[in-house]
Homo-oligomer: 311 residues x 2
Amino acid sequence: MSVTVVGSIAFDAVKTPFGSRERMLGGSAVHFSLAASFFDVVHVVGPVGDDFGEDEYAVLQARNVETGDIEHVAGGQTFFWRGEYGWDLNERETLDTQLNVFAEFEPKLSEASRTADVVFLANIQPDLQRRVREQCEAARFVALDSMNLWIEAARDSLIETIAGVDCLMLNDSELRELTREPNFVRAANQVREWGPSVVVAKQGRYGAAMITDEGFFALPAFPLETVVDPTGAGDCFAGGFMGYIAAHPGTELDHDLLSRAMAYGTALASFNVEEFGVERVARLTSDEVADRVAELRQMTHFIEKPVVLRR
Amino acid sequence: MSVTVVGSIAFDAVKTPFGSRERMLGGSAVHFSLAASFFDVVHVVGPVGDDFGEDEYAVLQARNVETGDIEHVAGGQTFFWRGEYGWDLNERETLDTQLNVFAEFEPKLSEASRTADVVFLANIQPDLQRRVREQCEAARFVALDSMNLWIEAARDSLIETIAGVDCLMLNDSELRELTREPNFVRAANQVREWGPSVVVAKQGRYGAAMITDEGFFALPAFPLETVVDPTGAGDCFAGGFMGYIAAHPGTELDHDLLSRAMAYGTALASFNVEEFGVERVARLTSDEVADRVAELRQMTHFIEKPVVLRR
């Protein structure tokens, strides 16, 4: 089967306490694609400008990402973002956003992209997400990400779009903002009333938590001594999560399978933050992914041994 | 064997979005004792005033906590704290602190308290913690908690005290403040250079993470639809954690055992926040504790199933 992602393809300028990059390949659809490429064929959909060249295509194609639905806007410039992270990498400030070709973007999906088994609507304007969703009628599992900008500027449209997907995947704080509910269990239940059966809260350095029809599941972030650049971690998480689902066609998407998908998402996100931009994931191997999932399992599993409690 | 805890015994006034209490039993040593009482004999050490009466003793004694080392200061008043929590329970403001009998407190441990197998130095002035530590020469496992007040006012003394214990257990943000290191792995390694082999970061709503000689372990907080009052959750976590260790005399305190201790700590903390003060833990049953640990295990364990990754 295959995975389709619609989202931003970008050049990023990033400064963190560990260094900086003036112009590197980025964007939610790029980070997602590279992570999901470990599991299945990935179709990436998004606009680029004249400045997006062979070097950038090569990064995606080296991981066999299908780039046929990348729309080249002649005379345009690729989306650009500049941001800086504080000392503990928990806060980030956006210093510049140039929408460029993204300002007029209207997703056009090829037959191959439209018929994908698994679809990820990365963080773009919710009306656009909904129009993509409507084109992908056959998809078995559709997930959506968003951000505070749309929660504040287009909440009604966002909730309408959420109603049409299977899974909402948001930053913890954005889930609180969207639902106006500080408690994760209640926030997830609110979202589940709108439509999705699966809700995932991305908690940054603390990991991720999920609620499905069958209950709660959570994993910590993989512990790293040095986190160089958190940009794209959430999209890599989504790529690992959705990729794992795509790799299991004809299997019931039950709580156990989604829990394992969380583990692969966690592993992919952890590699992403080890270096700037896509640098680490671009040269990642499948053995490294498998090893990290096994390590994560050890770091979260405890062996049950009965203890006699007093009264 | 047995557990000794030295810390505050208090009356708390607490306001949360779910209600308020004007005067209820609290204090780190009280919350710890009730949680640890599910595992072993607990000796509680701390001062109280004339306002601490039979009703308060009865709560501790109902769970067989040894109250002989509670020091009654005639003519004094018990430590009092008033605080209020914000809408998401993540921020709290201290509105009033009356040290009262705590101002002149000098811990005096009976023979039974001094010879405990497991000792918890709850959050008090680090010089006092060190003097308690020196009295408990025979202890197999000593853990220490502290707070931003002491990190800011008595950092050198605190680090000297930390050097003499086996385990440092701090709030996540305080561990960052103490070590001036935002990354948990690096912060824990710094602490381990000072002395303790075990470092636990309490992460509030996100759970807790640990580093031992053998590596990393983490658990999410148990998911609850309603958290009524977070006061004392960290001390209940410590009570469950240390109690579990005390319940295993003659057993090597390896990573697996400490990981299970984390699970019991997480369970005890989760009950504590379901109601105000000690209300929930005071009527908790050992079956409820065991059931919650089993549930927590299910919510964090994923079954490994090989997946064929692409290259």
